[in-house]
């Protein structure tokens, strides 16, 4: 992967609260703290995995970055190629503060692939209409030129030009997901948010689509924010992984480090749940006790403390600081320095996880 050191996207203190309205006058009674202050950055050409249980705010985080939901607070700095105007230049834009016009221009640089390949395609439009619409909206190509661009991108995702005239319902789930990918890529974006792009697909199809995403990344120099609910999918495709719990990032590190040396108890539990294709390996799975607390009233201190088997007094009082332990290994845990957590594979082969063959 053509990775560089340039930071493409830099998210600082991103917050998204959804108001909870009640009663006849619909007064705001509380807030769902879906995203409660997260920091992360993505380098050009890399894939950052964003992992957490359902309801942890990972999808909202992805959508806030694209401003499909309006962020409550924070900065989202994006190095846009196109906003610079001149060829070759770049311009750093704060997505949160972008005007309507700027936002429309930014949409060409930042795209999204959705989880559900069924509801994400308008059933009344042909494939050509769906994939061509971004070009139409941005006035990028007309008539035959547009047809050609659509045919090209369909070819890139493994579909045929003659599919343009068909309707979504004539395709299988995997094919529909390819249509969704084509729609995102037709604008030639820099960043693509992949919102659980394979979790709604059959297992046999998942690998195909993952491989396709990797191929496309190489071919078009894409940067991915890859949202997933388990580590096993992310492990293969990500350079670095961020683990989210109840609206906050608890740990972020390169994939190798995260699997070899998890620093947060929650990461440890997730790592232990990754299946290992080795019959001799006896799984020592950590089963988390209790339920995920409500994001309307998260527990005080460290959000994870009620379910943490290493919790001490301070965990229920103060929120741990999200800090760099060195080598860009970020963690938010009071006991990160004195705990020795169980990495994957440590007792059998000694081999650590990482991008597998």
């Amino acid at each position: 992967m053509a990775q560089s050191d340039t930071v493409l996207l830099d998210v600082k203190g991103l917050v998204k609260h959804f108001p909870v309205r009640k009663g006849a006058f619909r007064r705001v009674k509380a807030a769902v703290r879906a995203v409660d202050g997260i920091d992360l950055f993505i380098r050009e050409g890399e894939t950052l995995g964003l992992v957490g249980e359902s309801g942890c705010g990972k999808t909202t985080a992805g959508r806030s970055i694209l401003r499909l939901v309006e962020p409550t607070k924070g900065e989202i700095l994006f190095r846009s190629r196109r906003m610079a105007g001149t060829a070759g230049g770049v311009k750093e834009v704060d997505v949160v503060k972008a005007s309507r016009g700027e936002m429309k221009a930014l949409r060409r640089d930042m795209q999204i692939i959705f989880q559900d390949p069924y509801s994400s395609l308008n059933p009344r439009m042909t494939v050509g209409g769906i994939v061509g619409e971004p070009l139409l909206v941005h006035g990028m190509a007309r008539g035959e030129e547009r047809k050609k661009r659509v045919a090209d991108v369909l070819g890139a995702v493994g579909l045929k030009p003659e599919h343009m005239k068909r309707y979504p319902h004539e395709f299988s789930g995997g094919q529909r997901q390819r249509i969704g990918i084509a729609r995102a890529l037709v604008l030639d974006p820099q960043l693509v948010v992949c919102d659980e792009p394979v979790s709604a697909l059959d297992v046999s199809i998942q690998a195909q689509v993952l491989n396709l995403l990797e191929d496309l990344q190489r071919e078009f120099g894409l940067t991915y924010l890859f949202v997933a609910h388990n580590l096993s999918v992310v492990k293969h495709i990500s350079n670095r992984v961020a683990v989210m719990y109840l609206g906050r990032i608890v740990e972020l590190a390169s994939t190798e480090r995260l699997f070899a040396d998890p620093k947060h108890p929650y990461t440890e539990a997730l790592v232990s749940a990754v299946p290992v294709p080795d019959p001799d390996y006896s799984v020592d799975r950590i089963i988390l006790q209790g339920d995920v607390p409500s994001p309307v009233s998260p527990p005080p201190g460290c959000h994870f403390h009620p379910r943490c088997r290493y919790a001490v007094d301070v965990c229920s009082k103060d929120a741990p600081v999200y800090r760099d332990l060195g080598n860009e290994h970020f963690v938010a845990c009071h006991r990160a320095d004195d705990l020795h957590l169980q990495p994957i594979h440590d007792r059998t082969t000694g081999q650590t996880g990482g991008p597998a063959a």
């Binding site: 429309k104 795209q111 509801s119 994400s120 395609l121 209409g129 061509g132 971004p134 941005h138 995102a184």
Partner: protein, 301 residues
């Protein structure tokens, strides 16, 4: 022209789908076919009567040579009225106001109601809440009474009837399109269209609106059936076309005066025409509902 080219793929596909749906659906759709035949027959009949009023020698307004108040006979198939006119000719020509007002009013309310419904449903928030409250208030009130009050205030004749009836039916379309828009709004494909940077107008017109068309079609046919009855009632109450013009509703009111003397034909025939036309629209509505609602089709089949 590049401009037309640009929209072609989507527009053509929509048209093709609709046309395909119609031809596919017409196969075996007796109810729909019968309804269409009735309505088309009425339209043709009315147009011909308008262009060529005295085709059988009895002009509906000018001819005054028949015997007074006589029952159906070989020359006057539906009898004659107190002004010595031929009832049959008047009945043939008498659907003009009903058709014009029903189609115009339904078009008016469909456009206004649907646009408001799309906007309200898609936008949500306080706008949606206040619009819905307003529409529900109008909807819960008897449409017949509201139409009468409105037309009485607007004056009588074609355009007052169109405005009054059109206003009364706005909530019908608003409710349908709002409910559908609310559903469409929550779908991921709308989010996908937002992500590519489409404007609000584009989203509503290209994505929300087309997905409500089926529902609008079904509602509008039933609505036309109802509009025919409403217009007939307004004419009956004297808010329709001024006297010499042939009009079913007004002719029935006229016949009411001679009811005691047993002149049943003055009332019976215009009424049967109203029933037939209203039934025609109703059957189209039934047919369309079966077409667009596969669940219902299965139940009936």
């Amino acid at each position: 022209m590049p401009e037309t080219r640009e929209t072609t793929p989507i527009r053509r596909s929509l048209l093709a789908r609709t046309a395909g749906g119609v031809t596919r659906g017409l196969r075996g759709q007796t109810v729909l076919k019968v309804g269409l035949v009735i309505v088309i027959a009425f339209i043709v009949m009315t147009v011909v009567a308008q262009m060529w009023p005295s085709m059988n020698g009895f002009d509906p307004t000018k001819y005054r040579g028949a015997p007074r108040l006589e029952g159906p006979s070989a020359t006057h198939w539906m009898g004659t009225d107190q002004l010595q006119r031929d009832v049959f000719t008047r009945v043939i020509a008498g659907g003009f106001a009903s058709l014009v007002v029903a189609f115009s009013a339904v078009a008016l309310s469909m456009i206004a109601g649907s646009i408001l419904g799309w906007i309200s449903g898609y936008t949500g928030g306080w706008l949606d809440r206040s619009l819905s409250l307003f529409m529900d208030a109008i909807y819960s009130f008897p449409s017949m009474i509201l139409a009468i009050v409105l037309v009485a205030m607007f004056g009588s004749g074609l355009s007052p009837m169109i405005w009054a009836v059109g206003f009364v039916y706005i909530p019908t379309y608003f409710r349908v399109t709002r409910a559908e828009s609310l559903q469409v709004r929550e779908t991921t494909y709308i989010e996908a269209v937002k992500a590519i940077g489409a404007s609000r107008t584009r989203i509503v017109l290209r994505h929300v609106a087309p997905n409500t068309v089926n529902a609008i079609m079904a509602v509008s046919s039933f609505n036309l059936a109802d509009a025919i009855l409403t217009v007939a009632a307004l004419s009956f109450l004297g808010f329709g076309l001024p006297p010499p013009a042939p009009d079913w509703g007004f002719d029935i009111q006229n016949g009411q005066k001679y009811l005691q003397s047993g002149s049943w034909w003055l009332i019976t025939f215009p009424g049967l025409m109203i029933i037939a036309l209203s039934l025609g629209f109703g059957l189209i509505g039934e047919g369309i509902s079966d077409l667009v609602n596969p669940k219902r089709r299965r139940k009936l089949g």
